[in-house]
């Protein structure tokens, strides 16, 4: 699965922010050229008025580029936060599975378990077992192990992790 790239999205946002700056600069330069053109009279003044109006619209276009840049940057932040959340869910899922002795296999048939710190996973086992013993005793842990073993979890980073409904995951 091709995962989104927040850094590339931020680069795109920077591109739009730069374009906004360039457009603002160009608006100023075009008005400057219109004002300094060696042309006098009513037609020249009409041209200068039109140039100022067009430059004002160009500045609004520049502002819209800034808005687009902000929206893309905000999107990049959101994507990054989602990826972090997915990684957390995946890590906690593996921990949970390890705590009940289940093997986790994803949709591609790959065995998961490499996510997160192995020592941390082992350390969490006791807490997981205790939680499930607290919830429903050995039967519940057995039931959960069966459920987890049968599941084909999404690939790492897949937004489908967000829809995974497993007791004790969240």
């Amino acid at each position: 699965m091709l995962l989104p790239d927040p850094a590339a999205l931020r680069a795109l946002a920077t591109t739009y922010r730069d374009r906004g700056g360039d457009l603002r600069e160009e608006a100023g330069a075009l008005v400057g050229r219109a004002v300094s053109a060696p042309w006098q009279g009513a037609a020249a003044e009409a041209m200068r008025t039109a140039a100022r109006a067009a430059a004002s619209r160009l500045r609004a276009t520049a502002d819209e580029h800034d808005d687009a840049a902000r929206a893309i940057a905000q999107h990049a932040d959101e994507v990054e936060a989602t990826l972090d959340l997915i990684a957390t869910l995946q890590r906690r899922f593996v921990e949970l599975a390890a705590s009940v002795g289940a093997t986790v296999v994803d949709v591609a048939g790959d065995v998961l378990g490499a996510v997160g710190d192995t020592l941390g996973v082992v350390g969490d086992v006791a807490e997981g077992i205790g939680r499930f013993v607290g919830i429903g005793g050995d039967d519940a842990a057995e039931q959960l192990r069966d459920q987890l073993s049968r599941m084909r979890v999404p690939e790492p980073g897949d937004p489908a992790w967000l829809d995974l409904d497993v007791p004790g995951l969240r």
């Binding site: 989104p4 067009a54 619209r57 902000r70 999107h75």
Partner: protein, 483 residues
């Protein structure tokens, strides 16, 4: 009249002229076009962003912010402040500005043409009336017409010489008036062709401007018709001497060099008539060439008096008409003989008729002329020089010779005319190179931005400023095929 102070200057053409202004306005239209193209390109880029895999592929991870971002980017191509609308706006402005520049140029040409035609019709009418009256008194100007007999011309000459008011006193008064009123004098010259045509047509029952036997709309055409009385002949080019000199350090020293060559053919040294000088500065591929061209040696040549002088009245008339002359061809022959190749950079300095010849040589494109400096030359009617050739025309306000073309010099970015409030009690003094040396010194010292711009251009091109040794060859050009 002459004082030590440098004379004030005024300019037309060049970086501050009408043509330069139109060029600047058209450049503004070009900038608007470029802005329009950039906005269109940005619009295309925004459209491409909408389907950019980086953005599109991120949608499942943050659909809400994705939709907002896509909406903002899509909005860049929508509405009155959208990129396509902005592009259309600047394009429309470019069209309007360009149209306005075209209209201004056309209106200028239209008014100039109308002014010319009104002046022509008025002077034709006056000439026709004078002609009719003269015929009643038994005086006809028909003898001047080409195709007439030399005997008629001589008779007219004799009659006019003996006419009341034709004495030196009247001529001096007219010259004094013209020197004090150069604009009015130039207008009078511009009226002369119509006047002459009217005189010639006055033998007909009804006046017929534009459609008579003769049509003399400009001084150039009239000069060309009168020039038919003269034989142009063939040039004879002799190398007189080789010597060393120095390249001009500034405009004044360039004029001084030309003055030195001009002195070889002073009034009392007719044996030197037709002398020019060619300088080579540097050597090999980096060599530059300077050609110094003095002006008329014999201004009062009558057709039956033509001799070997190439720089005579007949050559002046042909030059005014823009026709090839024996002087111009002789200069080109000498330039080739001196070793100037078709691609070697050349600067031509010409006084009076020499300036006219210089412009003709530049226009002929046989040599890679980069700069022409004319001093007191009537060059308004000369053939147009190619783009890239700078022409700098220096004119003394009191000099009558530059007025003989009957109109202003071309107002082009590359053709700068600098007029200076010079001195000179007599027409000859006002036309002399000592006055032009003062005008050139005023240019060298001028703070006027247009003049400064040109001086810097000439300096950058090496026309002035290089205090280098030069090898010089002197040639004498005479006419063969007369008498």
């Amino acid at each position: 009249m002459t004082s030590d102070a440098l004379p004030p200057l005024s300019t037309s053409g060049g970086a501050g002229g009408f043509d330069a202004q139109l060029e600047a306005v058209r450049a503004l239209a070009g900038e608007y076009d470029a802005a329009s193209a950039r906005l269109l390109s940005l619009g295309g880029a925004a459209a491409a962003t909408l389907v950019d895999p980086v953005l599109l592929g991120s949608a499942p991870w943050a659909p809400v912010t994705f939709t907002v971002a896509e909406g903002r980017v899509a909005g860049l191509n929508l509405g009155p402040t959208g990129l396509p609308a902005g592009a259309a706006g600047w394009w429309a402005q470019a069209v309007a500005v360009r149209e306005a520049a075209d209209l201004v140029e056309e209106a200028d040409a239209l008014v100039a043409g109308l002014h010319h035609d009104l002046r022509y019709v008025a002077s034709y009418g006056l000439g026709w009336g004078i002609g009719r009256f003269g015929r009643i008194l038994g005086v006809e100007a028909d003898g001047l017409q080409p195709g007439g007999s030399a005997a008629d011309l001589r008779a007219l000459d004799a009659r006019l010489s003996g006419a009341p008011g034709s004495g030196g006193g009247a001529g001096d008064d007219l010259a004094a008036w013209a020197m004090a009123n150069p604009e009015a004098a130039e207008d009078l010259v511009a009226r002369a062709p119509g006047l002459l045509e009217g005189l010639w047509d006055s033998g007909d029952l009804l006046p017929s401007p534009f459609s008579g036997r003769w049509y003399l709309p400009t001084v150039g055409v009239a000069a060309g018709v009168l020039g038919l009385w003269y034989v142009d002949g063939s040039p004879r080019v002799e190398r007189i001497a080789a010597t060393t000199s120095r390249a001009p350090t500034d405009l004044a020293s360039g004029v001084a060099a030309l003055d030195r060559v001009d002195a070889i053919s002073a009034t009392d040294r007719a044996a030197g008539n037709g002398t020019i000088e060619i300088q080579r500065i540097g050597a090999g591929d980096g060599a530059r060439w300077v050609v110094l061209l003095p002006g008329t040696d014999d201004l009062t040549t009558r057709p039956w008096e033509q001799d070997g002088d190439a720089r005579d009245l007949g050559t002046n008339l042909r030059s005014l008409a823009g026709q090839p002359t024996v002087y111009q061809r002789g200069i080109e022959e000498a330039m080739t003989a001196a070793g100037i190749g078709p691609d070697d950079p050349v600067t031509l300095w010409g006084h009076s008729q020499g300036g006219m010849a210089a412009v003709q040589i530049a226009a002929g494109e046989r040599f890679a002329v980069e700069d022409v400096v004319t001093l007191g030359s009537p060059v308004a009617l000369m053939p147009e020089v190619p783009d890239g050739v700078r022409v700098t025309s220096l004119e003394n306000d009191r000099d009558l010779v530059p007025l003989l073309d009957g109109g202003p010099n071309p107002d082009r970015v590359e053709h700068l005319t600098v007029r200076f409030a010079g001195g000179g009690e007599t027409p000859a003094a006002a036309h002399g190179l000592s006055e032009y040396a003062r005008g050139a010194a005023a240019m060298d010292a001028s703070a006027d931005p247009v003049v400064r711009h040109r001086v810097e251009e000439l300096r950058a091109a090496g026309v002035v400023g290089a205090d280098e040794p030069a090898t010089s060859w002197t040639y004498r050009i005479t006419r063969e095929g007369v008498g």
